[in-house]
Amino acid sequence: MTEAPLLEVRGLNAWYGESHVLHGVDLDIREGETVTLLGRNGAGKTTTLRAIMGILRRREGVIRLRGQDLLNLPLHRVAQSGLGYVPEERGIFASLNVAENLMLPPAVADNGMSVDEIYRLFPNLYERRTSQGTKLSGGEQQMLAIARILRTGARVLLLDEPTEGLAPVIVQRIGDVLVELKERGMTILLVEQNFRFARKVADRFYLMEDGRMVNSFPGHQLDANMDQLHEVLGV
């Protein structure tokens, strides 16, 4: 635990208009780690990602990537510092075809995956590269949303509920992709309600409730924390 975190969040507060939605959130992610944020709907998981990314602008506290302050950067500079965002609604553009969607985010480092590599990892996307982005199935749109960030060379992936509303076989496929990204050394902050999915990839868990962090524990202690999980997640 002595290694300096790659992404460091300290005392993060955030507001939607007048409503105070994050209360002093602390979060650390080390290089190459996969960390999962668990919590009920409305606990503040998506808000935490949006606040880190800078999409939610009204925030206070500390957000640092590799020691660099992100809080005061304009939104488009945050991506350039190495954060890649895959939103919950996937954000596939209807007016762009699959290939254009894939090529949309500008590269932020030169070690991103090549387009060939991406099409090898996601053969469906290659077959449908000239289709309108939103004509893809939900699972394919999710793959595309992940793939377009991989192309940019972002070091940290902020992944918001990638399995939501998808069939079990697709969820399995996304799990395989995450394992592969982990093996390649990608650092991942995953928001998930499905902890059975998350346990396969997560090194550590954070548990959120009402805009606060209520617990954090390493992946292998998931079972030991099951009682609290059931209580907080209401499952």
Binding site: H76, R77, A79, F93, S95, E100, T152
Partner: protein, 295 residues
Amino acid sequence: MSTIFGIPAPALYGQILIGLINGSFYALLSLGLAVIFGLLRVINFAHGAQYMLGAFAAYLLLNYAGIGYWPALILAPLIVGAVAVVIERTMLSRLYSIDPLYGLLLTFGLALIFEGMFRYWFGAAGKPYAPPAQLSGGINLGFMFLPIYRGWVVVASLVICIGTWLLIEKTRLGAYLRAATENATLVQAFGVNVPRLLTLTYGLGAGLAALAGVLAAPIYQVSPLMGSNLIIIVFAVVVVGGMGSILGAIVTGYVLGVLEGLTKVFYPEASSIVIFVIMAIVLLVRPAGLFGREE
């Protein structure tokens, strides 16, 4: 003399040509309006003034600097585009986060100021601007006499429209523009400098209006109110084509121009309202416009 539906053929062809010319300007202007509205969600009421500024830029370049038509075709859009960039940076960009009505009011106010200034300096009367020597005169096509400059305007505006369409549909910059039109925040979260994209887009739209102004200078006269006479029709074209639709703006511009020309032949009394009648019908049947997407 041959007739078509009882109309002398030369009169018919002549009106179709006038319709095509007017349609060229409708298309060029509604194209810029559509690009600006699509991305900025601003209804640019200064568009007619920017068209007028383009024509005046050409007139002033010629009469005060001796710079002729061809360089003006490049310089006038650059000058007007630069003015628009300053307007966007200093004023318009402050209004994006509030009601779109304020953007409309600001651009409407700016249009009045520009038109007022030029009326004060140059009077309301039109100033002549001669077509370049290479494009003066005309050719006999056999069925009609075609003034070369008018043919040039139709061809040039088609090339500009197609070029703009290709820029938006086929290039990376265009992909940013289309994506930001759908979800600007996400595109910015991907690392694209969206505020700069908005500035460039406003500059591009205004530049297109100025280019149309230069093309128009030798046909209509250069006058401070030339834009406000045209812009109301152009708004109708945008509504018929579909707010924000690029292809809709282009196609509708030419089609309505020709329809207006034909109305002048067959039922002249209706020629000044035909476009608005079509607009009303389209709004009743397809409120999003012929090429617009329902939101």
